[in-house]
Symmetry: C2
Subunit: 324 residues, 2 copies
């Protein structure tokens, strides 16, 4: 099967959205953005052995490759529109391609995000996606909008993906049921698109948690020129498998590490004025998403972690950095 037949068979879709004037198959795709809207753009490159294990299930991989990109649109409060796919493949394996295509396009369809173009080449397995979304001018959630006094929130749960990774890399042992539950978070993250859009105009700043909560929060703090206090007693229970992990003997400091610096969560960390607590609760309820207040923004730079009785917690919580 040649390059063009491969594209035809697995990645050509009829343009379904009124915003897609021309899809896969020409030199360029043509989008017709809603007049007046801003276009939000983000790109991610996933490599075998670095972002996913060799031999990863292609369907889960297709899902995740798009999910991590959609998560950036969510963090911006944008509505998904379209995406492009650049694929390097060591060989043409039709079963694998069919799986990747299914995982990718199922999430694309569920998110209203049309595949409009791409590039395929032979090489070490790599998946590059660029997503486009729309947002009203002035409504996009930025990293730079947090102010002292704001509440600090996260969506959903944190740390389960890292818990699975620790087990998969042989650093801890988990019972099969627990590993399967945690692994689902690692393999098939759900981007918080509905919540992000509901928070546009409500939250003051947002970021998606991909490299670990404290590291990603650090980007918000730096770009907003503020600091934060995080209540670890509020954050720790965000680990869905907390009780099961404790029962399996995972030590407490690793659990805190998973929650605060785990990575691969694809939840939203965001800030909002205390006067907007009702509006945040409304956004959470309207989108059926759990939202937890875990701290607040201060004028003093840096992050302060509080434990039981408001005592400071010390520890090194390194965020993921591909070149550190």
């Amino acid at each position: 099967m040649g390059e063009f037949e491969l594209i035809d068979r697995y990645f050509r879709r009829t343009a379904a959205s009124p915003q897609v004037a021309l899809g896969v198959g020409d030199d360029c795709a043509l989008l017709q953005p809603t007049p007046g809207r801003q276009l939000a753009v983000s790109t991610d490159l996933l490599l075998e052995g670095r972002h996913f294990f060799p031999g990863a299930d292609p369907r889960a991989l297709g899902h995740k490759a798009l999910a991590v990109n959609l998560s950036d649109l969510a963090a911006c409060g944008a509505r998904p529109l379209a995406f492009t796919l650049a694929l390097a493949l060591p060989a043409v394996d039709e079963t694998w391609l069919a799986g990747l295509s299914q995982g990718l396009l199922a999430l694309a369809d569920a998110s209203g995000c049309a595949l409009v173009g791409g590039d395929t080449t032979r090489g070490p397995l790599a998946i590059g996606i660029t997503v486009f979304g729309e947002v009203e001018p002035g409504k996009a959630l930025l990293r730079s909008g947090a102010r002292a006094g704001d509440d600090l929130y996260v969506s959903g749960s944190l740390g389960d993906a890292r818990l699975a990774l620790e087990a998969l890399q042989g650093r801890i042992e988990l019972p099969p049921g627990l590993l399967a539950s945690a692994r689902q978070r690692l393999d098939t993250p759900q981007p918080r698109l509905a919540l992000g859009q509901a928070l546009a105009g409500v939250a003051t700043a947002a970021i998606d948690v991909s490299d670990g909560l404290l590291g990603d929060l650090g980007h918000v703090l730096k770009q907003s020129n503020v600091g934060a206090t995080v209540d670890t007693l509020a954050a720790l229970p965000l680990l869905d498998n907390l009780q099961a992990a404790r029962a399996a003997g995972v030590d407490e400091s690793l659990l805190l590490q998973c929650v605060l610096a785990g990575g691969d969560d694809y939840e939203l960390a965001f800030t909002a004025l205390p006067s907007h607590r009702d509006a945040v609760a409304t956004a959470a309820k309207a989108t059926n998403t759990r939202v937890t207040r875990i701290g607040s923004i201060d004028s003093q730079p840096g992050v302060r972690l509080l434990g039981a009785g408001g005592q400071p917690v010390h520890g090194r919580f390194a965020s993921f950095d591909h070149f550190a």
Copy 2:
């Protein structure tokens, strides 16, 4: 140097264009498209050892990585707006990064195409770029618009990049001066942006010649449901170094192969009504670009090659296919 410092040092640019509301450094970049315009999008992934030689000059590589993407915008008749960059690097080499950044951003500046976002990761060297441009609705040049009776044109010159590649891969020997001249076409292609925009509304169909003239023309013919006749006597002189290559003993069939199926040309192949010959000439003159009429579009499928005296030329001219 960490991932974020790397981005800061080499790839952060102040948003210069009124269409870029937010550049590098947040979850998403924000573009503000000109109201009513369509957005043209294209993506390409370049891998070391496949699209460029290991050890390639980073400055030329930066130029070429963006040039091949801009060439897709040119083929569409779109005006460049912005691009994203996904970079996989085996290690952080500051001299190399500075070179890549210079080559990339020099062409970006010259083309009015702002770097608005990206992703960096550690891995086998790969450069993924997605470009965005603008075009008036209905004016985009598509592959599907060619009609029987149209003239067939190409811009600039063809085949020199392939001539260089043949020498660099040891299949032929070229004198150093000739190799240097041909190699310039391979290393630093110039996307035909001005011509593409001037042809919007004039040409009936267009494609950029990246995999070889006949192969790329084949996409136009297939999508337009037509065929073509190509005058090889008009096409062969498009090889800039034709006389020098003949003098160096390169055989005539290889020269024709370079021109008709060379690849890496990044010229435009396009069609237009015979009644628009003056308009094509005006577009060429206004953009200071050579344009050569090399044949015509027929209703009969396939491509017919004509030689001296209108005699048919036979030969296999395979286009580049990454998986064939």
